[in-house]
């Protein structure tokens, strides 16, 4: 499968994603500079990695959303191609309206760099099919603006269409205020678009794709995406 990993000025998880996809998962992965106006031919999945694109100027992700490559990403998403935004990538997708909602400053204003637990809310999505029902994953977060917010009518749509795919929880899978690191609405850690081909998530699966780096829970999501692409 072919992955395109976008690079903006200030991206800093681009090479982690390349390592996880290329070296660990043994897929074809290519870095794509944001000024390019097209994706490599045959791209199956676009990964929008973490970092501080454009120094987080104005709002996180707001400037990157207007980079030339994003037009090609919108077209790829419109055709049903997979798009996967991680951390700053999630913020970029939210600013692009590819996924609903916005990421606000963390409730307690601190930059959070820690492991969290997230619960997989549905298995019938392109990014979670390899998970067990209700599986709890231990994944790292590293963000200052991960406090998911949307208007009540948007939240209702998210719930009605089962777009909430990951929720912050404790080790036992209980989603509560105590297990919510950043104040995110409804403990939301990851959401899909209505069609289910675009995912935005705050935790970093690429940082836990092999045991030597402290965990393999992130692999579940990579394996899911591969399954989804293989069975298309």
């Amino acid at each position: 499968m072919r992955f395109a990993v976008l690079e903006f000025p200030g991206s800093n998880c681009d090479h982690d994603c390349m390592h996880a996809l290329g070296t660990v998962m043994r897929q074809k992965a290519e870095l794509v500079w944001h000024e390019r106006d097209r994706l490599p031919a045959g791209t199956d999945c676009v990964v929008v990695p973490g970092g501080f694109s454009y120094g987080d100027y104005l709002r996180c992700g707001a400037v990157a959303r207007f980079s030339p490559v994003m037009k090609a990403v919108f077209e790829h998403a419109r055709r049903g191609g997979l798009v996967w935004g991680i951390c700053n990538g999630f913020q970029i997708l939210a600013e692009s309206h590819l996924v609903p909602g916005v990421l606000l400053r963390n409730k307690h204003l601190r930059f959070l760099c820690q492991d969290v637990y997230v619960r997989v809310e549905r298995r019938d999505s392109a990014f979670t099919s390899a998970a067990r029902e209700g599986q709890v994953l231990r994944l790292p977060i590293a963000h200052g603006e991960g406090n998911y917010f949307c208007e009540p009518d948007t939240l209702k749509r998210l719930q009605d269409h089962r777009q909430i795919v990951l929720r912050y929880c404790d080790a036992g899978g209980e989603a509560s205020e105590e297990s919510n690191p950043n104040g995110a609405l409804e403990n939301i850690a990851g959401v899909l678009n209505a069609q289910g081909n675009v995912l935005g998530m705050m935790p970093h699966p690429e940082r836990v794709s092999e045991a030597i780096l402290g965990g393999t829970d992130g692999r579940v999501l990579f394996e899911s995406a591969l399954q989804a692409l293989t069975t298309r």
Binding site: L58, R59, A62, V102, N106, K107, H108, L109, F149, G183
Partner: protein, 87 residues
């Protein structure tokens, strides 16, 4: 030259933890009358006026605010626009 002075603020329904923290700091300093503080952004935008009426410029600034300068899911904006001397 036109000069637009733009204020972007969080909607009242959106929590502003930075504003809360700064307001609390003022109270700790002894300004007990501080009842609330909301933090926002102020932008000054200069526009070439060649071939651009004030009316048209207003519409353009409106677009710029809605498309990039504010995220209207969480923020509101307001601006004034005037003829201004070259900087």
């Amino acid at each position: 030259m036109y000069l637009a002075k733009i204020h972007v603020t969080l909607k009242p329904s959106v929590l502003d933890p930075q504003g809360v923290a700064v307001g609390a700091a003022l109270r700790h300093m002894g300004y007990k009358e501080v009842a609330g503080l909301r933090q926002g952004k102020y932008l000054e935008l200069r526009l070439e006026d060649k071939g651009l009426t004030l009316e048209k410029a207003k519409a353009r600034v409106e677009q710029m605010c809605a498309k990039l300068l504010a995220n209207t899911q969480i923020e509101r904006y307001e601006f004034s626009l005037k003829k201004a001397p070259k900087a």
